[in-house]
Point group: C2
Chain length 340, copies 2
DNA sequence: ACAGCTTCCGAAAACGATTTCGTGTTAATA
DNA sequence: TATTAACACGAAATCGTTTTCGGAAGCTGT
C-alpha cells in the first residue's frame, strides 16, 4: 500500500544501468544515448521520481530555504512582511522557514543557532524586544562571521554589519505630527514604548522634531511610554484623562484603537475633541470606528525588498562585504480619526 | 575573516584521530577513553562545533521540520494557528516551514510537492478555496500514500484519509443563531460564501437548524452568499438596505465589521436596530466599535492540537492506519454588537 | 606462556544525489 | 591496416554524519 519514494538507486537497479547514468539521463545529458535517456526518463515519470531535496542540499551546500525570525505574528505588520518575503522567495524557488522569537532574547538565539546549522541559506530578521533590551548581538555576529547572509528589517541595530531595510520612522512621525499641528492641534501627545526599541525611539524623535520646528516646547506630560508592547489600559486611560491632549500619535495601531475607545467612553468626540494617528496601517486602522488615520509601513514591500536583497547576497559569487540600508518612505493615510 | 563551520573531519584531522572516534566522543560514547573524549570535547567546544542538520537529516531520514500550508496569512485565524503550531512544535524540537497557497489550487500543489521531497517530516494544512472548488485532492492522497503524516485543520475534506482538527462550525452557527432568536430577533440574515468552502457550508447548516428548531422558515432573501473571500461592499450594502434584517450572522469577522459600518452609515443603531455576530473572534472583533459578539474558533489551540497529532504520528513506530477527527467546541463571546 | 577478555579505536558502509575521470566499443581517418 | 576520435557508460569520490564490525593492544588467570 505504501508507495515509498523512489531513488536513483532503484531506477538504476531496475533498468540495469549505473546510478551515474540515471542521474545524467534525467538531466538530459549529452553523454547518454537517446534511447537510454528515453527509457530512463519514461521509467522515472512512471514512478513519479523526484530528487531528494536533502541529498541535493548536502551535496550543493545550499538548501533553497530562507529563515525568517520575527518577534511575533499577531502584529499585522509582521504578517504582511512574511507575505512579501514568501511572494518574492517563491518566484526564486526558495522556501520560507518561519520562527517566532516571541519577543524573547533566548528564543531568538535558539532559533538562529538551530537554523544556522545548515538548515537555511540566509536569514531575514526583525529583532525581538528582549534582544534590543539586552543589547546583545553575538548570535548575529556569529552568523555573519560564518558568511551566512543576513537582512535585518524594521527593528535593526547598528551593532551588526549587514543589509537592512527600514522605513523612515522619524519621518513618519514627523509627517503625522506636522499634519496634526497644521490642523490646529495644540496639545499633541504620543504613546510610545521604552526607548530600547529602535523604532519607538526614532518615532519619538520625529515627533519632537516637528514640534520644535513649529516652536512647540517638549512637554514630558504629553509623552506616555508603555512598559511593554502590550496594551496597559489603565495607563492609557489616565493619560487621556489627565494630560488634556487634543491629539495623540501612537507607535502602533493597537494603542490608537484602544485610546479611541477610552476617549469615546470618556465622552470625547473623535476627531473633534481628540484626533488620533497610529503607526502601521493594518486591518484595524481600516475597520476601526472611526477609521484610523495612520502611517503605512508598507510591510509587504519591505518583505519583498528584504528577500530580494538576501537572495541577491546568497546567489552572488563574490564575497564583497558591502552592505546597504534601504529606507522606505512611510505614507500618511488619512481617515476619520483626524479632520479631513 | 570568515570562520567557516567546522566539521567532524576537521576535528579528526587536527587531533589525529578518526572521524568515527570524534563522532563517538562527542556523543560521550563508552567506547572512547576518558582522556580522548575530554580532548575532543574541549576542542569541539573551543571551535564551537555544531553538527550539520542536513547531513543528519539525510542519515536519519528525518528532518525535524514540519510543513504548514495555509491559504493566507492575513486572516487572523490562520496566524493564531501558526502560533499554536510553533509553540508545540518547538517544545518537541521541530521547526515550522510556512507556505502560503494564496487560496490557489496550483500554488498549494506546488508547495506540497516541493516540501514532500524530503524537506519535512509531516504536513499541517488547511485547504485553499481553489482546492475546495476544484475538488481535487490527488496531491494530498499522494503524500499520504507515501506514508507522510498529514493533519488537516479547519478547511478539510472527507476525500482524504488523515487526522483532522476542526471546530464544530454548525454548532457555532447554531448557538449564535439561537442567541439571536432568544433575544427576540425576527429576521436573522446570514452572510456566507459559496458552498464549496466546507466551513461556510457547515455554518449555514447550523444557522438553518436553529431557525427550524424555533419554527422559523428558511428565507432565501436572508442568505447572502459572497462570491469570494473578499468583501464586496456593494453586495453587503444592498443586502442590509433591502432585506430588512434585524440581525446578521457572518462567517468571518470582516463581513461583520464591514456590515456594521454600512449599517451605521445607513442610520441603523447597533445593536438596537440590527445586531451582529461574526465568526473567528480576532483582533477586529475585540477592537471594533461597537465591539463584535463573535464565535471563537480557538485557532491557537487548534494549532497546538494539530501539531501534537502530527508529531505523534511522525514519531510513532507502528504504521497503524487509524485516523481521528478532533472537533473543538466553539465559544460564543458576547460583546456590544448584540444586546447584553 | 597462552587462551580469553577488556579497552580503545579505525575502516567502511550507508543516507541520495552530482560530477569527474577513466575505459571499452565503435566508427572515421590516414 | 593502424591510429584516433567520438560515443556511451560506469567507478568512485564527495557532501557530513552515524553506526556496525573488526582488530590491535594490554591485561587477567591458569
Amino acid at each position: 500500500m505504501l508507495k515509498k519514494k523512489i531513488t536513483l538507486k532503484h531506477i538504476a537497479r531496475e533498468l540495469e544501468v549505473s546510478i551515474s547514468t540515471v542521474s545524467k539521463a534525467l538531466k538530459n545529458s549529452e553523454e547518454i544515448s537517446r534511447e537510454t535517456k528515453e527509457k530512463i526518463q519514461a521509467f522515472a515519470k512512471l514512478y513519479n521520481y523526484k530528487p531528494n531535496n536533502i541529498a541535493i542540499s548536502l551535496k550543493n551546500k545550499r538548501t533553497k530555504n530562507i529563515g525568517v525570525v520575527i518577534p511575533n505574528i499577531v502584529h499585522h505588520f509582521f504578517t504582511t512582511v512574511i507575505r512579501g518575503v514568501e511572494k518574492y522567495a517563491n518566484t526564486k524557488g526558495y522556501n520560507v522557514i518561519v520562527c517566532l522569537s516571541d519577543e524573547s532574547f533566548d528564543k531568538e538565539v535558539i532559533n538562529v543557532e538551530l537554523l544556522a546549522n545548515g538548515s537555511i541559506d540566509g536569514f531575514i530578521m526583525s529583532l525581538s524586544s528582549g534582544t534590543q533590551k539586552e543589547n546583545d548581538y553575538n548570535h548575529l555576529k556569529e552568523i555573519t562571521e560564518q558568511g551566512i547572509p543576513l537582512v535585518l528589517f524594521d527593528r535593526i541595530t547598528s551593532e551588526v554589519e549587514c543589509d537592512k531595510v527600514i522605513i523612515d520612522d522619524a519621518l513618519g512621525a514627523y509627517l503625522a505630527t506636522k499634519k496634526l499641528i497644521e490642523q490646529g492641534r495644540k496639545r499633541i501627545g504620543i504613546i510610545t514604548t521604552a526607548d530600547y526599541l529602535s523604532v519607538s525611539k526614532s518615532r519619538t524623535k520625529g515627533y519632537l522634531k516637528a514640534l520644535k520646528e513649529y516652536g512647540v516646547n517638549e512637554d514630558k506630560e504629553l509623552i506616555l511610554k508603555m512598559p511593554s508592547m502590550d496594551v496597559d489600559g489603565q495607563l492609557i486611560q489616565d493619560f487621556i484623562k489627565n494630560s488634556k491632549v487634543d491629539a495623540i500619535l501612537t507607535v502602533n495601531e493597537i494603542f490608537s484603537i484602544y485610546g479611541m475607545q477610552v476617549a469615546q467612553d470618556l465622552g470625547f468626540k473623535i476627531p473633534e475633541d481628540i484626533s488620533f494617528i497610529g503607526f502601521t496601517d493594518g486591518l484595524l486602522s481600516k475597520y476601526a470606528n472611526p477609521s484610523l488615520t495612520s502611517i503605512a509601513q508598507h510591510g509587504e514591500r519591505m518583505g519583498e525588498i528584504s528577500a530580494e536583497m538576501l537572495i541577491q547576497k546568497i546567489e552572488s559569487e563574490d564575497e564583497e562585504e558591502t552592505y546597504q540600508t534601504k529606507i522606505l518612505e512611510p505614507t500618511l493615510i488619512e481617515r476619520n480619526s483626524t479632520i479631513n
